[in-house]
């Protein structure tokens, strides 16, 4: 039932992507990387408060996956969500100014890093409780099926959430009712500071739907083309009425769980090895250059991305804080 594409060596995979498509992935991944680096820096400067979970290292997962979705498909994830928002097409300015707690942020400064949403882009959060987004994503799929609208729900969760009971409650209902949902497990190998083998009795997470008959697949989540290909097949599966599917993306976060991370639970060598040997952006870049893309074009993309991030950062610092009376708004919808 479960198939695996684990261990497909980088650079050997015969994965199809037009240079134009790969260039787009490269741009999107780079935007997330540069955005997150800037967010980390602004956190260090005291401009961003609270919890701030960076997505650096995992960019290929959301970029490859989102490119496999259709207009109208819904997305929900946990609190490591900045990359998802950018990949959904949300404005970096609105995301960054939410991080700085300003009125121009997506939540008017009332949600922060972990709680942002966009009705327009069908991004349903940004949820701060580990695993709680999984029933919610299953409910989005329930609504798609209720309306018979041909859309699917992409529900992201981390390896840290995979042992939460509500995840299995959701798997069961999704399989029982054949809901159009793809569960994307971003296995970055650490739930906060606990490595997966210290938290999970079985560490191959794509099997976790087996008890419910949910097929699962393990994917090289550092390779955007592998993610994209798996995402296309999974989306088709869910869309065609065959019910849910699990994709386990093997990925890695370079930075700490949040900004204050003791960095004592893994070795620097491990982080460096992932960075130098498996970096998703560098892989895409090499493939583009091998395919004959002009290096100058990549530099132009880099400059353009930097400009957008710089604009977002500036906007996020220049924007005013919410007006004091915003304290009392949006508690309830006016009936």
């Amino acid at each position: 039932m479960a198939t695996t594409r684990k261990g497909r060596p980088v650079g050997v995979a015969e994965l199809d992507a037009s240079p134009k498509e790969l260039l787009g992935f490269y741009r999107d991944m780079l935007l997330i990387r540069r955005f997150e680096e800037r967010a980390g820096q602004m956190y260090g400067m005291g401009l961003i408060g609270g919890f701030c979970h960076l997505y650096i290292g995992q960019e290929a997962v959301v970029v490859g996956m989102q490119a496999a979705l259709k207009e109208g498909d819904t997305v929900v994830t946990s609190y490591r969500d900045h990359g998802h928002m950018l990949a959904c097409g949300m404005d970096p300015k609105g995301v960054m100014s939410e991080l700085t707690g300003r009125r121009t942020g997506y939540s008017h400064g009332k949600g922060g890093s972990m709680h942002m949403f966009s009705r327009e882009k069908n991004f349903f959060g940004g949820h701060g409780i580990v695993g709680a987004q999984v029933p919610i994503g299953t409910g989005l799929a329930f609504a798609h099926r209720y309306r018979d609208n041909g859309l699917i729900s992409a529900t992201y969760l981390g390896d840290g959430a995979i042992n939460q009971g509500q995840v299995y409650e959701s798997f069961n209902m999704a399989a029982l009712w054949k809901l159009p949902v793809v569960y994307v497990i971003e296995n970055n190998r650490y739930g906060m500071g606990t490595s997966i083998d210290r938290a999970s009795a079985r560490t191959d997470l794509f099997h976790r739907g087996m008890a419910y008959g949910i097929p699962g697949e393990q994917v090289d989540g550092m390779n955007v083309l592998a993610v994209h290909e798996a995402g296309l097949a999974a989306a088709e599966h869910a869309r065609s009425g065959q019910g849910p599917l699990i994709l386990e993306m093997l990925t890695y976060r370079y930075r700490g769980h949040s900004m204050s991370d003791p960095a004592k639970y893994r070795t620097r060598d491990e982080v460096d090895r992932m960075r130098t040997e498996h970096d998703p952006i560098e892989q895409a870049r090499q493939r583009l250059l091998e395919g004959g893309t002009d290096e100058a074009m990549l530099k132009d993309i880099e400059a353009e991305v930097r400009r957008r991030v710089a604009e977002a950062a500036q906007f996020a610092q220049d924007s005013p804080e919410p007006a004091p009376d915003e304290l009392w708004t949006d508690v309830l919808v006016d009936a």
Binding site: G50, P135, I136, Q166, S260, V331, V333, A335
Partner: protein, 461 residues
């Protein structure tokens, strides 16, 4: 051009730290994302990454240095001649002194907005409730609830009912009788026994614009799902700056049942009423069950609708008009009186009315207020009554500590201090898990005689 690398903060409270070691040397080329140094505090370690490309021209603070203040320049990176954007200068200011001033940082200053008057209580009267003069039919509360659901499902295709045993079994307490037959399995959905899962699924469907009615077999089991009710349903509209509302009803029997002991007998009214972002309703009469449930289903907010197993079988004259609605947020004078106010909700209204009868024969005129809605709380109706009677007894099935009666006592201090002729008296469930034995159970739950005694006490009679 040169960019100074500043000492970062690991947390909002960090003011200084130690440069544990440098991972790059002067003269090394650096790229975005390269780790330059490790810094430490007593709590954590963090890496300082390069944000810009260039050459590490100078290490200003050598490794091993402790007590380095946040935002102190620790190194200088010079551009390598290509696209060192102007952005670098604007974000990591070249002079290193342009650190965000405390006056500008969001957390440094907490402007104290002027709070609306008593935000905890509804100061604005809910939409006026027109007196119903149409056709009524005498039916049970259970049937009134079923009719409300059926009428709203006919009216709005987005409304569906989901929960344990709601479809084929026809409802564990027979509230959903006949709904499966009329609306089919798409809209009347039996779930596995997974409260957290199906409550969260309902929340997701609500975010997506459907109108879920989530039935809990009893609210005792909703404790499995309370994270989804509070954290997901009630907070998201606020956290999304008003983008993401969740029109959902969580309903089922609340409070005690007969002889089922502690895990199946508990009043959750004050738990939910505590939380902004929710509406909480706990009616007593058949008309209120029907009219308030219909309002709850039409409401764009999450509504916790507390029913009562021992009230399902009570019969009342209930309006037939499918547009009959009772506004959420408005208490009802169940019995007018002059000398003492008795507040109650759900099943306790019945006991309060019986107590008022007995008090009448003892020559005490009691005004009984059926609170009906607990959030938003109709403070105005209670205050107006006490300003007339000058005495109040607050009755509830739940425990005393931080209960609805405690909230009413606070309201009396705030709004009726000068009118009170006696201390506020609470009649509550006893502060113990509910026992099974018939005699002990009776002792633990408010009885009519307890209410009568409390009313006499505040009347000094």
């Amino acid at each position: 051009m040169a960019t100074e690398v500043l000492m970062p903060a690991l947390s909002p409270t960090m003011t200084e730290g130690k440069i544990a070691r440098w991972l790059k040397s002067e003269g090394d080329a650096v790229h975005s994302g390269d780790v330059l140094a490790e810094i430490e505090t007593d709590k954590a370690t963090m890496e300082v990454e390069a944000v810009d490309e260039g050459v590490l021209a100078k290490i200003v603070i050598p490794e091993g240095t402790d007590h380095v203040a946040v935002n102190t320049p620790i190194a200088v990176i010079t551009g390598n001649g290509e696209d060192v954007g102007a952005d670098a200068a604007s974000i990591a200011p070249a002079n290193g002194r342009q650190q965000p001033t405390t006056a500008d940082t969001p957390r440094a200053r907490a402007p104290q907005p002027v709070a609306p008057e008593t935000p905890r209580a509804s100061r604005r009267a809910a939409a006026e409730e027109a007196e119903y003069t149409g056709v009524t039919r005498t039916i049970t509360v259970r049937e009134a609830l079923r009719d409300a659901i059926a009428e709203e499902m006919r009216r709005d295709e987005r409304v569906f009912l989901i929960g344990e045993e709601v479809a084929e079994y026809q409802g564990a307490y027979k509230v959903s009788q006949g709904l499966l037959q009329e609306f089919g399995t798409r809209r009347v959905v039996d779930t596995p026994i997974t409260e957290q899962g199906f409550a969260g699924l309902g929340v997701g469907a609500g975010f997506a614009g459907l109108r879920p009615i989530v039935e809990f077999m009893t609210f005792n089991f909703a404790m499995q799902a309370i994270d989804q009710i509070i954290n997901s349903a009630s907070k998201t509209h606020y956290m999304s700056g008003g983008q993401m509302s969740c029109p959902i009803v969580f309903r089922g029997p609340n409070g005690i049942a007969a002889r089922v002991a502690a895990q199946h007998s508990q009043c959750y009214a004050s738990w939910y009423a505590h939380c902004p972002g929710l509406k909480v309703v706990a009616p007593f009469t058949g008309a209120d069950h029907k009219g308030l449930l219909k309002s709850a289903i039409r409401d764009p907010n999450p509504v916790v609708f507390l029913e009562h197993e021992l009230v399902y079988g009570e019969s009342f004259a209930v309006p037939e008009d499918p547009e009959f609605l009772v506004p959420i947020g408005k208490a009802r004078i169940a019995r007018p009186g002059e000398q003492v106010t008795i507040t109650a909700f759900s099943r306790m209204v019945k006991l309060a009315l019986q107590a008022a009868e007995e008090l009448e024969s003892a020559g005490i005129s009691a005004e009984v207020i059926d609170l009906r809605t607990l959030r938003p709380f109709d403070a105005a109706t209670i205050a107006a009554s006490v300003q007339k009677t000058n005495r109040i007894v607050a009755v509830e099935e739940g425990w005393p500590f931080a209960g609805i009666g405690a909230e009413i006592a606070a309201l009396m201090f705030e709004e009726c201090f000068d009118w009170l002729d006696a201390p506020v008296k609470r009649v509550t469930g006893k502060d113990v898990p509910l026992p099974y034995a018939a005699n002990l159970e009776r002792l633990a739950v408010p009885q009519v005689e307890d209410i009568v005694a409390a009313a006499r006490e505040v009347c000094y009679r």
